[in-house]
Symmetry: C2
Subunit: 408 residues, 2 copies
């Protein structure tokens, strides 16, 4: 096979992003690619010629298995936005210069919406200069907000963590005979997929959260308080799941109401947080009931000790299929997952033009949210339940999960 491979990881980490990396690495090697390089810290590090030869780190089948079980981006990540090449071509010259020097013919970028924007720009630029380097996107995001794919690798494991932790939190909260309210904050800026996953905890042995608030629905303090008071009439404990991204009618994030300043990243996304604590304070003041805020924070995206095996497998597959497609001549595309059926769960992969998918956020369909906007319907459960199935036990060393790492 002529030419080498470079692969990068970008955006927020997940528990299974390294399984996609393994999928790319192993498939490329199996198909006879000589060198598979890994960008350090995505395109940002690569522009400074920071990369590794993955063979130096993946030396055995045990390393492969260990890497699958390692959370967060093994290669390091970045949040770097490429300029449009019509406006600033210099960065593209630098990049393609490095690619030529390393004899790269295949470029893979594992990430979410912002990473697909990078693939779009690079493949369009390559076309404009008649380069034969192929650029492929490998979907990854716990947020599950990528269009064109049934779901994104990373979501299933985050959902499994959220539902499991929610069960444990509910068990903990309900063991006391005293009145209490617990508000659990879950990630998801504009899409409620992760928060909705809290509903999966509802089963024969668990009530599930009493209320679920997604960013897809306008948040109203008065209605919220009324709902809580209703619940408190017939039970001592109330447990609520809220998205960090819920907004009131005026378009303000609930978390903003509470913050002196809001950090904005290089893509212009506001960094949220503080929603649960603010709502717990609000309820405490309004009801006089002891109220606690719990925030899953980064744990929900890096808890590889409780991954979904199905998610790990699919993450591997989209990496592997991106390589197959690139070797077959495709470029400027993202690998997608297409669901054939729920019961039994069946899935196939596809390819989608990145020009059509970049920077469109897929939200939870409003039909999957109850009329009063305080829970998700059975359609959501049918969609999400298959994604959390199966386990991949961590390799435990001295009582703790072992990870593969780059020592620098």
């Amino acid at each position: 096979m002529q030419g080498n491979v470079i692969v990068g990881q970008s955006g927020g980490p997940t528990s299974v992003i390294n399984s996609s990396l393994v999928g790319v690495y192993k498939t490329a090697k199996d198909r006879g690619v000589k060198k598979v390089y890994g960008m350090r810290h995505g395109i940002e590090g690569f522009l400074n010629e920071q990369y590794v030869d993955l063979e130096d780190y993946i030396q055995s089948d045990l390393d492969i298995e260990l890497l699958k079980r390692t959370p967060s981006s093994f290669l390091g990540t970045c949040r770097y936005k490429l300029p449009d090449f019509e406006e600033d071509e210099e960065v593209y010259w630098r990049l393609f210069n490095i690619l030529h020097k390393m004899d790269i013919k295949y470029f893979f970028y594992i990430g979410g919406n912002d990473s697909m924007d990078t693939i779009k720009k690079l493949s369009n630029y390559a076309e404009s200069i008649n380069s034969d380097i192929r650029f492929m996107g490998v979907p990854k995001t716990i947020d599950n907000d990528l269009a064109a794919t049934d779901h994104t690798p990373g979501y299933g494991s985050a959902a499994k963590y959220i539902a499991s932790a929610m069960k444990e939190i509910i068990r903990d909260a309900k063991t006391y005979p005293t009145d209490s309210i617990t508000v659990v904050e879950i990630m998801g800026r504009n899409a409620g997929w992760l928060t909705a996953a809290a509903a999966l905890s509802r089963a024969e042995d668990c009530t599930g959260p009493d209320l679920i608030y997604l960013p897809e629905v306008e948040f109203d303090y008065d209605k919220f308080l009324k709902k809580i008071l209703e619940i408190k009439k017939y039970q001592t404990t109330a447990v609520v799941a809220v998205s960090e991204g819920i907004k009131t009618a005026d378009g303000l994030y609930v978390s903003e109401a509470n913050k002196k300043s809001v950090y904005v990243d290089s893509f212009g996304h506001k960094q949220l947080g503080g929603t649960a604590l603010y709502l717990a304070d609000f309820l405490g003041e309004q009801t006089g009931i002891k109220s606690r805020g719990i925030v899953f924070s980064t744990l929900q995206r890096c808890a590889s000790h409780i991954v979904s095996r199905r998610d790990i497998t699919e993450a591997y597959t989209v990496g592997a299929d991106a390589v197959q497609a690139a070797l077959n001549g495709d470029t400027g595309k993202m690998v997608t997952l297409e669901r054939i059926s729920n019961t039994p769960y069946q899935i196939k992969t596809g390819l989608y033009d990145v020009n059509l998918i970049a920077n469109v956020e897929k939200c939870v369909p409003l039909e999957w949210i109850t009329d009063d906007g305080t829970y998700v319907s059975h359609e959501f459960n049918e969609y999400a339940s298959p994604l959390i199935i199966g386990e991949l036990s961590p390799f435990m060393v001295d009582g703790l999960p072992r990870h593969l790492f780059i020592d620098k």
Copy 2:
């Protein structure tokens, strides 16, 4: 065997408190006790004659195994402080009246310092009225602050969760090329055992947190800031573990500085929280670096999906041994764990007079804390490492850990 058994669970839940319940139940049944009752919500519910016949819920070996894997107090818990019987005897009359009615001869209470206070008062009262009912304490607390025992069941699993989650958080934080500070808040009002467990994450594949602050050491903002700035000279990311109970020289909890009001429970303990967020805000303001607070909250005491098998086994053993001791005539005692050696790890159980142990908090020895008060020494690791060894896989149903529950 004459007379029945009652067992209760009290105080904060743990991941293994139900393994102690199983230890009591199974040993009593094996020794021929006819009825093993469980108090609903500890002594508080029992005073309202709320109890169950455990046989109605534990009907098979599968139930036993499921109960061991169920976090939080299966029977429900309480934070109820018995009055001194010299001051208010009425509650004792009521209680002993119920005990006689149910033909209880053996009373077991699974809990921490406050629960041992209950066992002390009840056994002393029994002695004063020449009752032959035997009262035994079964140690339980994630805080590990009970005197007279090498460690407490519940601690090992919480420590395993804390070290595992810390590894994952560090992996997540360090994947970015940008400057950041993460402050992780861990439980422990006056004793730093849980926070110290963050040090267990330091291994070949993990740097561990950069700094660890225990409540045993006076906290100083200036020194803290200086340490952070030092670390930031040679690395982009700093990760700090802090106890919720750290105090400044004036005796104020750091969390208090940040709070409008502090909730105080019936034992007079202040409910803490907000330390990490406050310190993250402080560092963000002082350094201009993006700073994040992460709070493990109740997850650290109920994450039964990643328990320590050794902890589960020891929790069972202290329950079983309490029954053996009571049947052999002991009363007014708590079962203790005595360490024979670290390598290999060997332990035996003992009995200790509750009059000598109640309401004394055991802290991390100052010799186990580094001179500058920002880490723990190898002695701590030698002590704590054996306690997190081994796993007990949850029973997964539809992708989530299954629990045993009382449906009301």
